[in-house]
Symmetry: C2
Subunit: 266 residues, 2 copies
């Protein structure tokens, strides 16, 4: 029997935190998602979560994304990483509590970027964890950067990178809207949800995609889509669902019909 | 000017936690140590801390050190790692609060062992962190093991490994006694403190060294000494001081005279 192909689940920072606050986790949402992940019981799963009101405001305060310019930023780099580990700890707490053999894998320990793009990813341990039956949990993080000194690495870039590298079977992206709309659904009353998009359809409409309005140093919805396109181009389908609504993530993980947007190569 | 040689500071789990409790951190001690580390302002520093009442009881409960025998242990591996990240988070919190550019480097993401001994350590990012001026903070952790499936990695093994690999200038080990005694100072009234020991002197007396009485899956004081001997043999001096008493760690980091035991090759 061949092994199940890898599934990557991205959980947006706007889902598990209140982005209008600071360091404001939504622990009840984190717990519900852990329950859905436990119920789906997907073999060969990687989870990646965003920074929400943990990573983003701290990174912004110290200008981490723009790189190392002054020594005083160093402790800001440390602080940004530290607040991300706090959020990551809350996610792991819920997963372990739900009996999921999850293990945090910290990007700042094993990734190096160049101008913000991953050039080095030490994945020997990650592969072994998957093979042994663990669920690696990564998150948006700070990283050392060969050109900038350091910078911010988005969870979305990690998702696309891992999906392509490990030839994932699918990507599920949990966000705080029902999927992709032809206009920002929070600003436009009659915004229409796309149920299915091909890569070429998506290319045409991507400029109109609604962005996150709160602080997001890594680019909101458009940033997400731009990151994910190369994975779709490699034939990996992406389902974007509302993780703030119960059972959407569960159904997407199970491959069941669910409200949301599916993006496929053709 | 040549760069300062690496200093490795080990902080025992029995110092920063109450080992008679469970998940019982001594945050006031952690804060004082962060203050001492800030004051010493050592260039080129790695900090490693133990598991105390976080890692040890959890690892023991699931038999993690003995390896992967049943699927039900997997979530115990996750839980052991998770509680260690909680303790690590408290340490990082104090360090960052004291303006130290500290960054957690998680052994379970970058180390693989074989029968409990490190055979693979992905240190590219660790080296870069040191070079950029960060203070990497590691801790005892769980690791994947090529023979056992998984196991426990002691902070002491990490200290000796890193010291030898990076040719450290010195190792400072903070414990909860004043140093090495000719008998267990907690059990024997007139136990005598050794101020200085050479490697050959230590070899002769090591069987009499007092061990930690509380749960320590990684071997207590004798385990510590056995781990550290090869680093001493490579010419790296080790200072063992009481980190539970103010300013001992500070003085040892500064190379000042301080009560404790110094171990040197000759």
């Amino acid at each position: 029997m061949s092994e199940a192909k890898l599934t990557i689940l991205k959980i947006g920072g706007s889902v598990i935190t209140d982005k209008t606050g600071e360091l404001a986790a939504r622990t009840e949402v984190i717990n519900r998602l852990a329950e859905e992940i436990q119920k789906a019981n997907v073999k060969n799963l990687i989870i990646v979560h965003g920074g929400g009101s943990f990573g983003h405001p701290t990174a912004q305060k110290y200008g981490i994304k723009e790189g190392l310019k002054e020594d005083t930023q160093k402790v800001g780099f440390s602080e940004t990483h530290h607040v991300m580990t706090v959020l990551n700890g809350l996610v792991l707490d819920a997963l372990v509590w739900h009996n999921i053999p999850a293990l945090s894998v910290t990007p700042s320990c094993c990734v190096v970027t160049e101008n913000g793009r991953i050039t080095y990813f030490e994945d020997a341990v990650l592969k072994k964890l998957l093979k042994t039956g663990f669920v690696p949990v990564l998150c948006g993080d700070v990283t050392l950067d060969d050109k900038l000194g350091f910078t911010v690495l988005s969870g979305d870039q990690l998702v696309a990178y891992l999906a392509r590298k490990f030839d994932a079977g699918k990507i599920v992206i949990g966000v705080d809207t029902d999927g992709l709309y032809d206009a920002d659904p929070k600003a436009t009353k009659n915004a229409k949800l796309y149920a299915h998009l091909t890569l070429s359809e998506l290319e045409k409409i991507k400029e109109n995609l609604g962005g996150s309005t709160a602080t997001d140093v890594t680019g909101g919805m458009l940033g997400k889509i731009v990151e994910i396109l190369p994975a779709v181009g490699q034939g990996i389908p992406v389902a974007i669902v509302n993780a703030a609504k119960p059972n959407r993530v569960y159904k997407a993980l199970m491959g069941e019909a669910v409200e949301g947007t599916v993006i496929e190569k053709e």
